[in-house]
Each structure stands twice: as C-alpha cells, then as structure tokens.
Symmetry: C2
Amino acid sequence: MRFPKLFERLATLAPLPAEEWVKAEAVAKEQSLAKRELFMRPGDAADRFAVVLQGVFRGVRVSPRGGESIKAFRAEGELIGAYAEMLQRLPSMTAIEALEPSHVLVFQTQDFQQLEQGHVCWERLARRVAEQHFVLKERREQEFLELSAEERLVKFWEEHPHLKGRIPQRDVAAYLGITEVALSRIMSRRRKRAE
Amino acid sequence: MRFPKLFERLATLAPLPAEEWVKAEAVAKEQSLAKRELFMRPGDAADRFAVVLQGVFRGVRVSPRGGESIKAFRAEGELIGAYAEMLQRLPSMTAIEALEPSHVLVFQTQDFQQLEQGHVCWERLARRVAEQHFVLKERREQEFLELSAEERLVKFWEEHPHLKGRIPQRDVAAYLGITEVALSRIMSRRRKRAE
DNA sequence: CCTCCGCCTTAACCCAGGTCAAGCCCAGGT
DNA sequence: ACCTGGGCTTGACCTGGGTTAAGGCGGAGG
C-alpha cells in the first residue's frame, strides 16, 4: 500500500477493505504541479479527479461577464475536480489551479466506475462524499443568506485556519463574493475597532 | 403498488425493482397538512422525510438574529426533510411549512435504513439524491457569487415556473436573500423598463 | 542598486439594497 | 356593510460594497 494515511482517512467515511484500496492505488497516477499550474481548465472533459497529497488549490469559475469567483479551496487530503460538471456529464466550467507547488493522486472517473462494479464499498463511499459536499454547500448558502461580508470573513478563517498565509487576499475576497477592495476596507475597519 | 407515478420517477434516478418499491410503500405513511401547518419544526429530531404528493412547502431557517431565510421550495414529486441535519445527526434547524393544503408520503429514516440493508438499489438511489442536491446547491452558490438580486429573480422564475402564484412574494425575497421591500422595488423597476 | 511587478491599501464617488414608516388593496369574519 | 389584518407597495433616508484610480511596499531580475 502506497498511501496508508489516505486509506485511513477514506476508511473513516465508509468501510473500505484494504484490498480495494490497493486496487484503487493501482489505477491512480501521481502528478506534480508547479505554482499557478492548472489541474483542470474550463472546457476540459470532467473525466478525472484527484486527492491533494501536498499543496493548495483554488476552484475558479470564470463567469460569462469576465469576473472570477472562487468556489472552494482544497488542501491536503481533500478532493479536487469539477464535481458538479462530472455528475451532469458536462465539460468543466471550472479552472482548478495550484496556489503552491503541489502533488496530487489522479483518478480517471472511468477507472473509478470499474472499481464500483467490483465492490459495493465504492458506491457507499461515493455517497458519503456527495453527502459531505452537500453539507458544505448548504452551509455556504446559509452564510450568503444571513451573514454580512464581514461575518462571512470571520467564519472563513474560523473554518479554514490551515489556509492562513497560503492564499492571496484577493482570492479570499472572490470566495466571499466581494472585491479585494471591500475586503481590505473590512479588515482595516476591524483593526481600528480592535485597538 | 399504491404510487406508480412516484415509482416511475424514482426509477429514472437509479434502477429500482418494483418489489423494493412495494416494500417501501409498506413502511411509508400518508399525511395531510393544512395550509401553514409544519411538517417539521426547529429542534425536532431529523429522523424522517417525505415525498410531496400534493402541495408546496417552504424550508425556513430562522437565524439566531431573528430573520428568516428560505432554503428551498418543494412541490409535487420532491423531497422534504432536514437533509443536512439528518446527515450530521443533528436536530433540525429548519422549519418545513405547507404553503397550501398538502399531502405527503412520510418515511422514517430508520425504516429507510432497513430497506438499504435489504437491497443495494437504495444505496444507489440515496447517492443520486445526494448528488442532485449537491448540484442544486452549487448552482445556487454560483448565483450568489456572480449575480445581482435582479438577475437571481429572473433565474428563479425561469427555474421554478410551476411555483407562479403559489408562493407569497416575501418568501421569494427571503429565498433570494433580500427583503420584501427590495423585491418590490426591483419588480417595479422592471415593469417601468418594460413599457 | 534600481526598476518593475504583483499584491495590497486608501480615497472619492456611486448605487443597490436595508430600514423605518405610511398607505393601499383585498379577502374573511361579524 | 363594516372592520380587520395580511401582504404588497412607496417614499425618505442610510450604509455596505462596487468602481476607478492613485499610491505603497516588498521581492525577483536587470
């Protein structure tokens, strides 16, 4: 087994026999990405995903009107990929970019479907993953519905302390749905209030 | 089989043997709700869900600061329940209220888990449901990130034409994340622009 | 060493949407 | 027919965040 820590992490989501994980490792490929390099670009087929072994990524959606907004950041142990597009069998509308020199473990969805044929554990795992992603998105929805930009900022750092210092401010702003300028103002306002 | 149309609908999501559906019908209970009656209230255990047979519901979250925001509307053929809370085994933080005299088919999650033990089809169906809910939430997230309230309004009616006339304006506003006043202004602005 | 560039801040101005308050319309109840 | 109350609109005023544009600052390359 090449990635025992990853195996343990997945096994907490759903019962996962070690043999099955070994099969999965066999079809996965490691990939290294330089800072700023894209794991996926808009227009690509959404036919693969990866687990982050090392590094941080941002999922960027470039809107028709030019602006970029950020759907999520992903660090060690988390999944990257155009998940919604994969589920809908659409080409990716998302760019996934390394914010640091990174290292990931890539799966083709096709290979993953093979694994599903072989053992029910994968079906269950996929379910858990979908459910967890749902919970995260619903939490975010809630934040947009009832919190101000400032409150969202505070929550962001509470929930993602491990990203401190690893992502540029402008990306935090794009994640919160505001501009870099507004974020800067909010921070200076808080600084003043704090003294 | 008591609900053949529902069976057909579910069968489009994942292969579902008719016998399994009959078993499910056996553990489900029909329930009628008056207008304004709650299917679930905040604090309730999130241990059941239902399919809407007739009527419309709104999922309301009452925030600590008193305001209510609306997570979703659900009409015929759709699921109601405190899904995120159920997945996290938390008590419901959501009120689910009938906006019309309604009729639903209720399942206890416990009974559903029994069904899952009996046949893999339910696992697969649960996965599809989770995935579809995820896609919907992500779409909504996108709308908050890149659209104005007015654009969100237009999209809302494009995506939910069947709700026309069945839900009060203030609820549409609470769904869009704005006040009833702002919604009214937006609508009058569009009316003027249209002549 | 200086310059350039990427990232952040600050300031001036504008506008969407929030808040508060008054008023309208209409359906239901007496 | 009259009240009443719920749901919607409108107006006046305020505020958070957008836009534009001008610096500031620190690190990489000449």
